[in-house]
Every structure is written in structure tokens, then in C-alpha cells.
Amino acid sequence: MRIADMIMAVVLAALSLAIMWKSGEAPWGAERFSNVGISETGAPAGGFWPFWLAAAMFICCIWVLINAVMKTSPVAKMTEPYMDRHGMIVLLTVGFPVFLLVLLTEFISMYFAMAIFMFYYMLVLGRHGLLLSLAMTLVVPFWMFLFFDITMTKTLPKGLRSVEDSIFVPLGNWFRQADGFVVPLAFLLGGVILVGASWLSARRSKTSE
């Protein structure tokens, strides 16, 4: 834990130096760091606030580093590892798929990315049955679509143009042109599918026991 504390302090110190360097970029081609002091009016210039904040952060990073070296902070005294096997597994099996969820959103739309993520999480990590996993995979993104795109008219990303034009535009148009009761009915249908799937899954697991 102590070594990780030191590494994090060094990384944050480097970040604060980068922020100080970037804050010093004066507009209109003026000399670097000419904007981090007090201007002629007596007021701080544009770069003053971020520059001095980052400077204070740099000092605090050194403070954390000294605490870690001298073993004077509670974290520095801890003997357990920063990240054990379980932590690494959480990062790889959950953190990385969340990364893929965001990445896939750029290409195949947020709804399809959500569906893949739900399926993976339910079936692989949750070890739920195929039926319940498929029901969640279908219903959760569908509810999201009905809630965000149709009800709130807040369109979520649809990925590549071809995906949007071939699937989401016709689907959206259909729901928008449908009668008022169709959307609540579709929400309800999703609920029925979920309840049905969880009931069947529970029954199956009981009979297998």
C-alpha cells in the first residue's frame, strides 16, 4: 500500500505540474506565465487561479510523499497490498467491460452496447440462466429507448450512421406515430417479459435442486 501511495503522489504531482504549465499559456501569444500573477488593475489575471491551485496541489503531493516515506500516514502504515487478486479480477471483469460499453457506443449505438454488456454481466458474471439473461438484455435497453428517445425526446448516441438509419430511425418513427397507449403498453410488455422470465428461472432452479 505504501509504494502505491508514493506512486499515486508522484502521478498527481506530475499532473499538477502539467496543469501549472498549461495554466501559464497566456492568450494572444503573450509570454508564457505572464498571466499567472496580478494584472495592472490589481486583480488576478486569467491563469492565476488554476496555476496557484495546481502549485498548492503539487505541495500537497510532496506532503503525501513525505508522509508515505516517513510512514506517518495511516495508509503508509498498512501492510496489505494495494490491489489483491480479487481487486484485479473486479477491474478486469467489470471495469474493462464498462470501458468496452463506452467504446462500443461509438460504433453500434448505446442501446446495442448496453444489450451486450447486460448479457455478459448477467450470464458470465452473474451466472444467471440464459432465459433471464436474454430477457434483461432485451428489456433493459428497450426500456431505456422508450424512456430517453421516445418519452423524454433525449436521443442517446446511435453509433454509426448506417446503424442509426437502418434501425433506430424507423423504430423511433413508428413509436412516435403510434397511438398514445402504445408506449405505456410497450413498457408494460417489457415488465411482463421480465417477471415471466424470472418466474420461469426460479422454477427451473427449484426443480433442478
Partner: protein
């Protein structure tokens, strides 16, 4: 006073109109659920559902209704946290950690229904007492705050940050780093005074405006919190059995009044005042109330073994503190807790200006919201007691179903609020960063509050210094001649000096402990 009561009565009347009442009930039920589920708390519950404010406003045409909904979730979550603390021994939210100390032993003794009813009754009393305090304090505080100029507002911001350093109880340099990270996120894009570009990293268009509070909040409390929960809850847990019937509820409520009145009173009053402090909020409020109840109890040895006072004190305190945290948010525009920071963002999304002018310009908004606090409290206790079996059934829902839903809601929630994929990426990296920093005990609540207050803090600092020709005397010296009249201004110096003392408090404590050989103050930041 009569005027305030009249306004409150009008507010309550509007809050009980069918639409608002329905929204209130829905909010409370969602709140009870998010509070009860481990890994979900009031912050991420409110943050993820923040985009619904547009929808509720669109449907109801009222500014108050969305805020009633969010505040009801906050209330419900304070009640809900106790359910999993008692039944599973896992706090549903950090605010219910102290409830586990005595609630769980009571459940293990076969008296789960006593613990659940005590938690509900104490929460109701705590919430009601805090609402009365809030109604009494808010209007005069808003009236005083109306006279605040730039130096006073900056001094207040300084005080908000200083409370984290002086009273937060976390590692001091790590707290300051957290505050600065939040302030820098708010400074990205453009200089607020001169409008010139700054901190536009890699000249990427995504950095051309300040990072939205929700991006950080959902990253930290959505993705980061879920990763943290998955990392820390490694084994399964056994749920206690509870038999709920009207007769048992009546008997348990009677026991609460007889044996838990002291804890309830301490929690209700202490919680409110701890809740007002930006560094504190409901978690330390409930821990402190538990500690004080134990200290003043005639039977301190029963604490930790299933004392009714030990359940009543933290539960009364966390509800009371959540209302307390609303006081600076509504009157000064300074959130008292991360959840109220999200509520503050809700006000901004509704195009309302948080702060003292809200009471003058938007009484039609303020009083129905305050009225809804009273209504939410009543609804929460009724729903809580009536639906305990339903919540117990929901707690059996595997975390592997809830977790992916939270992840996809986090991703969708950020995009719905900001309309930028760049922000979704940032949210993911903030979540990952929060997880990695949290293991090293970096507190993250200061960053969440700092990103909300960043722009106004810088603006008021620079405008004040422009006024004083760069002299810091404008903040610290009451006789500093601000306007050429020679008049003394006391408010800013008093606040600024308190802030300075709070900043120096850890140093003073350290020197005292070195001189007297006393142990360091205990860590009580949630």
C-alpha cells in the same frame, strides 16, 4: 413568524396536490429502494435520476415538482439505509453505518422488527424536528445572506472548504488535493471574468467548457462506487427474519418511545447542526449522535449489543442531517453534502439561481419544496412501515442484476445530461480514478463539492481583489475601506477568520497532542 407559517401552510397545501403528492410518493419509494440496496445511496440515486427533472418539468409545468421528486428520493434513502443495515448487517448507504452497530445485534437476537420500527420512528422524529429547525432558520438566514457582497460570498466558500480540512478527519494533504482537483475541473475551458480560453488540454473541443458536475458525480458515485462495492463485498450475507404485524409495530413503537427517546432527541438536534457543515453531512452526523448517546447513556455497556437508543440516535441523526444539509444549499447556494450538491445542480438545470434571492424571487418554488419535506417525511414513515416485507423481498435481488443496471444508467444518465460522448468517456475515467484513489483513502466528497462551487469561488475572489486593488485585507480586516465611506464590514472578516482557524485546526491539534501526548482525533468522515 406568522408570515412564515402562512407561507409554509401554502407550501404544504401545494405539496399535497395530487400531482405533487404522487411525485412525492414515487420519489420516496425510489429513495427507500436506493437507500436499502448496498452500493446505491442517496448521491448516486439522485445523480443518476437527475435528467428526469426535464421530463417532470415538461409534464407538470412546475419548477417545484422536479425538486420535490429529488428531495423525496433523498428522504427515502435516509430511511431505506437502515433496512439492509439491520437485516443483512451491510449498510445500505454510508449514512446507515452507525445503525448497523446496534440494529444488527437486535436482528440477530430475533428482534428485527423492533430495530426496523425504531429506525422508522426515530427517522420520522429526526426529520420532523429538522424540518421545524429548517423552517425557523432558513428565511432569516436568507435575509442576512441577501446583504452579502463578493468578499462575504468568497469568505463563505473558503469556510466550506476549510471545514473539510479542519473537521473532515481525513488525511489533510489528500483532502486538499481532492478539493483542488474539483476546483480545477470547474476552471477548465474559459476564464470566467475575461472570457479568454484556458486549460484546454490537447486543444480538444471537449475541454472547451468546464467539466459538468454530473460527469464527476456519476463517475465517482456511480461507476467508482460500484467498483468499490464489488471489491469490498466479497462474501454473501444471511438475511435475518422479521415478522411484521400491526400489533408488533405498535409494541415496537411503544418501546422506541420508552427506551429510545434519549437517542432520538440527541440525534434529532445534533444531526441538524452537523448536517449544516459542508464537510459533515449525514454520515458523520449519525456516527457522532451514536457516540454522544453512548457517552451520556446510563447503560453504555448495552451499546453494540442491541440497545434501542443505539438504533434511534443514528437514524434520527441521518434524517435530521439531510434536512440540515439543505439549509446552506437553499439559502446560501452552498451544498451541505454531496447529495445536496446534486440537488443544487438540479436547481441550475431548472434555470433557478440558488442562493438567498431564491426566497425573494421564487417563493412559489421554495415553499412548496419546503412543504414537501414535511409531506415526504410522513409518506416515508408510512411507506417504510407498510412495505417492510416488500423491501425485504427486494433485498433478495442478486447484486449481479442491480450492478449492470447501475452501470448502464450511469452511462445513459451522463449522456442525457450533457449530450456529449466526451463526457461519457470522462465519467468512466473519473470512476476508475475514484476507485483507485479511494483505496488510498483519498476523500472524494470534497472534489464533488468543489466542482460545484469552483466557478463562483474564483469569480468572487477575483472581483473582490479587483475591488481592493489586490489586497487580502478586504477579507480579513473589518476596517478595510471598501467604498470610500470608512464603514466597517464585519461579516466577511468573521467568516474568513473562522475559516483560517479551521484550516489551522489540524496543526493546533497536532501541537496539542505532541505536548500532551493525546491520541489523534478519530476519523469520522464517511
Amino acid at each position: 413568524m406568522m408570515e412564515i407559517l402562512g407561507l409554509l401552510a401554502d407550501g404544504i397545501w401545494i405539496a399535497i396536490q395530487p400531482v405533487n403528492l404522487g411525485i412525492c410518493v414515487l420519489g420516496v419509494v425510489i429513495g427507500l429502494f436506493v437507500g436499502a440496496m448496498p452500493g446505491l445511496g442517496s448521491v448516486n440515486g439522485v445523480a443518476i435520476l437527475l435528467p428526469t427533472v426535464f421530463f417532470i418539468k415538461q409534464q407538470t409545468g412546475s419548477d417545484a415538482a422536479p425538486m420535490i421528486f429529488l428531495a423525496a428520493i433523498y428522504y427515502g434513502a435516509m430511511y431505506g439505509g437502515a433496512i439492509s443495515s439491520i437485516m443483512l448487517g451491510i449498510p445500505g448507504a454510508s449514512t446507515a453505518v452507525a445503525t448497523t452497530f446496534d440494529g444488527r445485534p437486535l436482528a440477530l437476537k430475533g428482534r428485527a422488527e423492533q430495530a426496523l420500527v425504531t429506525a422508522a420512528v426515530a427517522s420520522f422524529i429526526g426529520g420532523t424536528v429538522a424540518n421545524i429547525f429548517f423552517t425557523g432558520f432558513a428565511p432569516p438566514l436568507a435575509e442576512v445572506a441577501l446583504r452579502f457582497g463578493n468578499p462575504e460570498i468568497f469568505a463563505l466558500m473558503l469556510l466550506a472548504f476549510a471545514t473539510f480540512v479542519g473537521l473532515g478527519g481525513d488525511d489533510i494533504p489528500k483532502t486538499i488535493i481532492s478539493i483542488i482537483l474539483g476546483l480545477i475541473c470547474a476552471a477548465i475551458g474559459f476564464d470566467v471574468i475575461e472570457g479568454e480560453p484556458r486549460l484546454q488540454f490537447f486543444d480538444h473541443i471537449g475541454f472547451s467548457r468546464p467539466i459538468h458536475f454530473l460527469v464527476l458525480a456519476i463517475g465517482v458515485y456511480g461507476v467508482g462506487e460500484m467498483l468499490w462495492t464489488l471489491n469490498t463485498t466479497r462474501g454473501g450475507s444471511d438475511m435475518s427474519k422479521a415478522e411484521i404485524s400491526l400489533t408488533r409495530i405498535k409494541a415496537a413503537a411503544g418501546n422506541t418511545f420508552r427506551e429510545g427517546w434519549k437517542g432520538t432527541s440527541i440525534g434529532s438536534s445534533l444531526g441538524f447542526f452537523v448536517g449544516i457543515l459542508p464537510a459533515a453531512g449525514a454520515t458523520p452526523g449519525s456516527l457522532m449522535a451514536y457516540g454522544v448517546s453512548k457517552m451520556t447513556s446510563k447503560k453504555p455497556e448495552e451499546f453494540g449489543k442491541g440497545a434501542i437508543d443505539g438504533v434511534a440516535a443514528p437514524e434520527a441523526a441521518n434524517n435530521s442531517a439531510s434536512t440540515g444539509a439543505m439549509l446552506p444549499m437553499m439559502t446560501l447556494g452552498i451544498p451541505g453534502s454531496p447529495t445536496t450538491a446534486v440537488l443544487l445542480t438540479g436547481l441550475v438545470l431548472l434555470e433557478l439561481e440558488p442562493g438567498p434571492r431564491l426566497f425573494v424571487d421564487q417563493p412559489d418554488f421554495v415553499w412548496p419544496v419546503i412543504g414537501s419535506f414535511y409531506i415526504s417525511n410522513v409518506i416515508a414513515v408510512l411507506v417504510n412501515l407498510a412495505f417492510i416485507p416488500v423491501f425485504l423481498w427486494m433485498l433478495r435481488m442478486p447484486f449481479t442484476i442491480l450492478a449492470p443496471i447501475i452501470f448502464v444508467l450511469s452511462v445513459a444518465g451522463v449522456y442525457a445530461a450533457t449530450d456529449r460522448m466526451f463526457d461519457v468517456w470522462l465519467m468512466f475515467f473519473f470512476g476508475l480514478g475514484a476507485f483507485l484513489l479511494r483505496i488510498l483513502q483519498y476523500p472524494l466528497a470534497p472534489a464533488a463539492l468543489a466542482i460545484v462551487l469552483g466557478a463562483i469561488t474564483e469569480e468572487k475572489l477575483r472581483q473582490s481583489l479587483q475591488w481592493s486593488d489586490g489586497s487580502l485585507g478586504i477579507f480579513f480586516n473589518p476596517w478595510f475601506d471598501r467604498d470610500g465611506t470608512g464603514q466597517a464590514y464585519w461579516i466577511a472578516p468573521i467568516i474568513a477568520w473562522i475559516a483560517a482557524i479551521l484550516l489551522l485546526l489540524p496543526l493546533i491539534n497536532k501541537v496539542r497532542s505532541m505536548v500532551r501526548g493525546r491520541p489523534k482525533p478519530q476519523h469520522w468522515q464517511g
